[in-house]
């Protein structure tokens, strides 16, 4: 198990203003801000890799549930129609907008799914010192993709359509919706519990198992 707390003074360059500065050792849970422009440099995570790992594994389980069950169903005059997350993206294909189908599928299902899976893999490898292959390129790709995942925006979209549809017909929320709503909260907590700077530091550190083997 790796503690994130014990780190000495480190040299850091602000991403926003390019100021080179020495950041003194910090309490876990505190935030380092730039002396020059005041933006956040990095957060000092509270629970090492244990907390993010737990949150991302729970997110993964909820992600699978949210995507396997219908999120909502509509009933008008005895006819019922239901849709899953991916099903709403595919609706654009039937209507002749394949580009939109790809955008919705990527931003609400594929990119978040890949990010969660990738981070579980990287965190497991670090936490249990497994030295799994491809952790570095994987973490680099996930960092690039993270802003394109829009599950939280999709949840707002579900709520807006709920109000729109309730005027038209009876709307029934499916198990996928509840899993999705909890997923958004857990996923947000998981992402904010993660400090990429410390993850990279730990990926760089030769693991103890490896050190024992060479000794």
């Amino acid at each position: 198990m790796i503690e994130a707390a014990e780190h000495p003074d480190i040299l850091f360059i602000c991403h926003e203003c390019d100021a080179l500065q020495k950041v003194p050792a910090m309490e876990p849970g505190s935030v380092a801000t730039c002396r020059c422009c005041g933006s956040t440099l990095f957060r000092c995570p509270r629970g090492g890799t244990e907390v993010p790992l737990a949150l991302f594994v729970s997110s993964l389980i909820l992600f699978l549930i949210a995507n396997s069950y219908p999120i909502m169903a509509l009933e008008i005059a005895g006819i019922e129609r239901e849709t899953t997350l991916l099903g709403s993206a595919l609706a654009f294909i039937h209507e002749g907008y394949p580009a939109l189908a790809v955008i919705v599928a990527l931003s609400s299902v594929l990119i978040p799914g890949f990010s969660i899976l990738g981070l579980v893999y990287v965190l497991l490898s670090i936490h249990h010192q497994l030295d799994w292959p491809f952790t570095k390129p994987l973490l680099r790709w996930v960092s690039r993709m993270l802003p394109w995942g829009m599950m939280d925006v999709f949840l707002l979209g579900i709520l807006v359509s709920l109000v729109k549809l309730s005027a038209l017909a009876d709307v029934v929320l499916g198990p996928g919706f509840y899993a999705f709503a909890v997923l958004i909260v857990l996923y947000a907590a998981a992402v904010s519990s993660l400090e990429p700077h410390f993850l990279w530091e730990q990926l760089d550190r030769p693991s103890t198992r490896h050190a024992e083997e060479t000794a």
Binding site: L11, F12, I13, C14, H15, E16, C17, D18, A19, L20, Q21, R35, C36, C37, G38, S39, F42, A73, L74, I76, A77, I79, R81, E82, T83, G87, S88, A89, L90, A91, F92, E95, Y97, A99, L100, I103, V104, K136, P137, L139, R140, S143, P147, W148, M150, V153, F154, L156, G157, I158, V160, S161, V163, K164, L165, A167, L168, P196, H197, W200
Partner: protein, 205 residues
């Protein structure tokens, strides 16, 4: 808070945008981070012209996104088209003002504010302004974060088109504004990513 700050570039150093590591670039403009393998630059390549190009394209997309219909409702043979603004007005008339507010903010006001904010930041950088640098940096961070929320209407149309397919009774089809809308959101996100906030702090050349 604008005391004497040591600029990393003046020491031949650059911060890695992915892992936060410090990379010694010296006389090279670009390099590779030895820790994570990402590309590292003193300043993003052609940042100002790329950001302008993406921003102007986004603004062009903003026009059809708001004038073309976002969806078509066919009900018992009668067809009606809705633009985003006509949807907002419809909900205002039916006393659903929280919904009208959400749609208006996310789809109409937010993208416009984001584009204006980036244009303002670009103009100030080109004029070499040194005033309120910290405030402009914060404006950039906010603009970068809020852009994605404009995608909400595309998701709403996806859900409605998937659910409301009840044959001759009533059905909802997506309209041409959806694609311009998604393009506008993606272009503004690329514009924010193409901009290098370190330019705000660079002395005028």
């Amino acid at each position: 808070m604008t005391g004497p700050c040591v600029r990393a570039r003046d020491r031949g150093l650059a911060g890695c945008p992915v892992c936060g590591g410090i990379v010694r670039l010296q006389h090279h403009e670009h390099g590779r981070c030895p820790r994570c393998g990402s590309g590292v630059h003193y300043r993003k390549h052609n940042s100002l012209s790329r950001t302008w190009a993406l921003l102007i394209s986004a603004f062009i997309m903003y026009i059809p996104a708001n004038t073309e219909p976002i969806m078509r409702t066919v009900s018992l043979g009668q067809e009606s088209s809705n633009t985003i603004l006509s949807g907002v007005i419809y909900f205002l008339q039916h006393n659903e003002w929280p919904l009208a507010l959400v749609i208006f903010l996310a789809s109409v006001l937010l993208p416009l504010l984001k584009m204006l904010a980036i244009a303002y930041i670009l103009i100030m950088v080109q004029r070499g302004s040194t005033r309120q640098r910290a405030e402009r940096t914060r404006l950039y961070i906010i603009a970068e974060l809020m852009g994605r929320w404009s995608m909400v209407d595309v998701f709403v149309v996806a859900l409605l088109a998937a659910l409301v397919q009840l044959g001759a009774l009533t059905s909802i089809e997506p309209g041409p504004a959806g694609i311009s809308f998604a393009a506008m959101v993606i272009l503004t996100m690329f514009a924010a990513m193409a901009f290098d906030p370190r330019l705000i702090w660079d002395p005028k050349e």
